[in-house]
């Protein structure tokens, strides 16, 4: 555990020593706030709900999560430091978990930095606090699932650009599949499958303030699955 903590701290330092982290945080805060206040005309609408604000989070994650996770394994491979990392006396699973937790820490920082904004806005009227809590929990879980996928794909990629593009493409499909499916008027069976795998469909429940264990577990299993696969891939490479 101590060793995992050391790896987590090293990953965080690597992330925060580069400008990408600050750029991503700034982009997230400005994009969501400007879109919500200006494009959505929140103040003019006189609706006491932040649903439109939180609806922007999954969209922002489509770009930001790949930007944060793309370097995770791809850079290590490119620079050869992966060899050093994988020959340290740390379990492969712990290395994967440490990398995941570091990237997720950065994403969580973004989400938590929106609190001043929510507090400010909720002062303007009668807001449903349960709904806002659900939205926070939902976006935290969703971002965890997306981050695990990003880390896994970074482990498959040979360079950061392909890691970024693979994660971007996957998240785009997983987030927008239901909306796209509806637009294309696909058969019900296909629509149901898309809805099951969609990251966004479950997020909609959280946005209504419904915290369903089934939805929460879906995100958790999603993350666990990809972290497990990431570990397996790394171990299999020892044989190749």
């Amino acid at each position: 555990m101590n060793r995992m903590f050391s790896v987590w701290r090293k990953e965080l330092r690597s992330l925060f020593n580069s400008p990408v982290a600050y750029g991503a945080i700034l982009f997230f805060l400005i994009f969501t706030a400007v879109w919500f206040l200006w494009m959505d005309q929140f103040l003019a609408q006189k609706v006491a709900s932040l649903r439109n604000y939180f609806a922007l989070f999954p969209l922002a994650f489509i770009v930001l999560v790949p930007a944060v996770t793309m370097r995770s394994w791809a850079d290590e491979r490119k620079m050869g430091s992966q060899e050093l990392l994988l020959t340290l006396p740390v379990r492969t699973g712990h290395l994967v978990l440490a990398k995941f937790l570091a990237a997720w820490t950065l994403i969580l920082t973004m989400i938590l930095l929106t609190i001043p904004m929510t507090v400010m806005v909720t002062g303007l009227g009668q807001f449903e606090m349960g709904e806002i809590l659900g939205e926070y929990i939902g976006s935290i879980l969703l971002s965890g699932a997306a981050t695990a996928l990003g880390i896994f794909l970074s482990g498959l990629a040979t360079n950061t650009i392909s890691a970024f593009l693979m994660s971007l493409g996957s998240l785009l499909i997983l987030t927008l599949s239901v909306t796209l499916g509806a637009a294309l008027s696909l058969p019900d069976a296909v629509g149901n499958i898309l809805r099951f795998f969609s990251l966004d469909a479950r997020y909609a429940n959280f946005q209504r303030g419904l915290i369903d264990t089934k939805d929460a577990l879906y995100y958790v299993w999603f993350a666990v699955l990809f972290l497990y696969l990431n570990t397996k891939v790394l171990i299999l490479r020892k044989w190749r």
Binding site: K10, N17, M79, S81, T87, P89
Partner: protein, 317 residues
Amino acid sequence: MIKVSHLSRSYGQFQAVRDVSFEVGKGQIVGLLGPNGAGKTTVMKILTGYHYPSTGDAWIKGIDVQADPLGAQALIGYLPESSPVYPDLTVLEYMEFMAGVRRLPTADREEVIDRVLKRTAADGFRNKVIGHLSKGQKQRVGLAQAILGDPEILILDEPTTGLDPNQILEFRHLIQEIGKEKTVILSTHIMQEVEAICDRVLIMNQGQIVAEGEASDIAKNLQGEERFKVRLKGVTASTALESLARVPGLKSAPTVAEEGLDPLLECAFPKDSGGGETLFDWAVSQRYKIVALVPQTLSLEDLFVQLTKETPHEQNV
């Protein structure tokens, strides 16, 4: 400390290591010598648990690397080829990370890191970001990282590549110093390096060990003859050569290495036939004065060329 038995490793169709076995005792510095692609790096990757062998086993201090990689890795300090490091971190941050992974007690971390950085002469740039360091500085950081936490075994893959001559000397000195207490395996394709610092050498070619032992022993065993250079005084080269050619027991016809009034002749006798004595007796009987009589041994460089020119696996096919 290190034992490897019947190790083979293929990458797809390519067989990088074939049936390699060797042992390294405590406190030895062993050099893995061979041309590029001989399988040196693969052997090191297997010892450190980065790759698993296709067949065969590797043990570190009695621990089977494949069965208990973490147990083995805890005993090893490793400097991979081209000493990769994290460009975003400062030297100190990197060392703190390594200290955490190596589980140094928090209380002495600062002191231990300080000592290691001084030892590898890396303390002058401890607060610099690694990405901004020169190749030689990075190499020092790589070595500092490897010896941090006092591992019993050091595995260094081409530790001196990319260094300037002064740095190479410093590095060799440092490795020799470290090798007094630790078991070291280092790989190189530089002959002088092995001669300068290694107790023992394993020469690899095409995935196999083609020679093993002390550098001088290998040279002696490989040499099928006793070769001498002899310098005589006051006789012309041609006269001396004519006379020398009549000496019984020569392996091949003698040659003139240098003309002149004090000519230098070269001749060869079969192995262990006392050629030096024969030469001396001959000179006395002819009333020549020997100015110098020098036995010729193969240099490690000659050996290297001789051993690695051959292609062992083609002979096996």
